[in-house]
């Protein structure tokens, strides 16, 4: 039997080594999700960017009709809200192909970052719009209708229903007055304030919406309580 020597021996050895290495790789090291190359990183960035933009576009397109249909939002606030949301939608729509045609990971990464830092759709644009609408719902309708009800009830209790002006009724009317004042104070200028915030301001301070939200929590609770006060008095006057 002829012995294996020279190049053949080297080739066999090399194949053996490769086989061993491959076996070792399969059995002991999990292959990476993406190969550590510049082109793969660029691809992953593009994929994440496409997903991030798609999610935000869907959220914006879903919210825009809601603001159009809301009958309580003032015309000025509706205009400001729709301008913000439509501008964000257009901007993201224009950014998508830019990222997809980026040729370097560095450029793609920078453009990808701008999806968040330049628009802040979830951190600011949508919340500020919704909170402004929530405030308008209260200032444009709740406050004036509560005030109207208060005046009518006061007249009734001072006149034909004076005999029904009992202590519980008086307590309800007093609370109603307090609630109206509370809602008015909590919502004064709120819509204008939140709509003026910019992504840069949010980037500088993530707490800019904290107080407006707290005010809305208080105001909405007051509105519910005021409604109960009116129901109490109505029941007493029946």
């Amino acid at each position: 039997m002829r012995s294996i020597t020279g190049k053949a021996a080297i080739a066999i050895s090399t194949c053996g080594l490769l086989a061993a290495a491959t076996a070792a790789a399969v059995t002991t090291v999990a292959p990476p999700a993406f190969a550590d190359t510049a082109s793969s990183t660029l691809a992953s960035i593009k994929a994440k960017a496409a997903t991030a933009i798609s999610i935000r576009e869907s959220a914006l397109q879903s919210a825009i009709p809601a603001f159009t249909a809301n009958p309580y939002v003032t015309a000025a606030d509706r205009s400001a809200i729709l301008t913000t949301l439509n501008t964000d939608a257009s901007g993201l729509n224009a950014l998508a192909p830019v990222i997809q045609t980026d040729t370097t990971a560095a450029k793609a990464r920078s453009d990808y970052q701008s999806i968040f830092t330049q628009y802040r759709v979830f951190a600011l644009a949508l919340p500020q719009s919704r909170f402004a609408a929530s405030a308008d719902d209260l200032t444009g309708t709740v406050i004036p209708r509560l005030t109207d009800a208060q005046g009518r009830l006061e007249s009734l209790l001072a006149g034909p229903d004076s005999g029904k002006d009992t202590s519980p009724v008086q307590a309800a009317m007093s609370d109603l007055s307090s609630r109206i004042s509370g809602i008015t104070t909590a919502t004064a200028g709120l819509a204008t304030t939140v709509l003026a915030y910019t992504p840069a301001q949010w980037d500088a301070s993530h707490t800019i919406l904290v107080q407006p939200k707290a005010n809305l929590v208080t105001a909405r609770a007051d509105a519910r309580a005021a409604g109960r006060d009116i129901a109490t008095v109505i029941e007493a006057l029946k």
Partner: protein, 118 residues
């Protein structure tokens, strides 16, 4: 022979005087009833629209509260009932707008809960 009474010109004059007096008494009684009919009812229809949900109607509904009449005449019960109905309409409008405010607030919070970082 009959004296002056219901016969002749004097008689007819006497009859007319008595008739006019009777008519005056009757009219006075009716007049008192009419005069206490009171003023017209407060028009709740001029208050903010009770059921309209249109944007223009709602956003311009911040009118000053109208007062129910305090007249205690014949129409006071109807006026009070109308005013109470207007209050009920106010309460319904408040409830609707508060529900919308809640929905908007909740949607804002839901947006904030989503990750807005790379």
């Amino acid at each position: 022979m009959r004296g002056p009474g219901l016969s002749g010109t004097a008689g007819r004059r006497s009859f007319m005087v008595a008739a006019i007096a009777a008519l005056a008494l009757t009219t006075a009684g009716c007049g008192r009833a009419v005069h206490t009919s009171g003023t017209g009812p407060t028009s709740p229809q001029t208050a903010p629209s009770a059921v309209s949900s249109t944007a223009s109607t709602v956003r311009t509904s911040a009118s000053s509260p109208s007062s129910a009449t305090t007249d205690v005449g014949m129409e006071s019960g109807t006026e009070a009932g109308t005013s109470l109905s207007a209050v009920q309409a106010d309460a319904q409008a408040v409830d609707g707008a508060t529900n919308q405010s809640d929905a908007d607030f909740d949607a804002g919070q839901a947006a904030q809960a989503q990750n807005d970082n790379p």
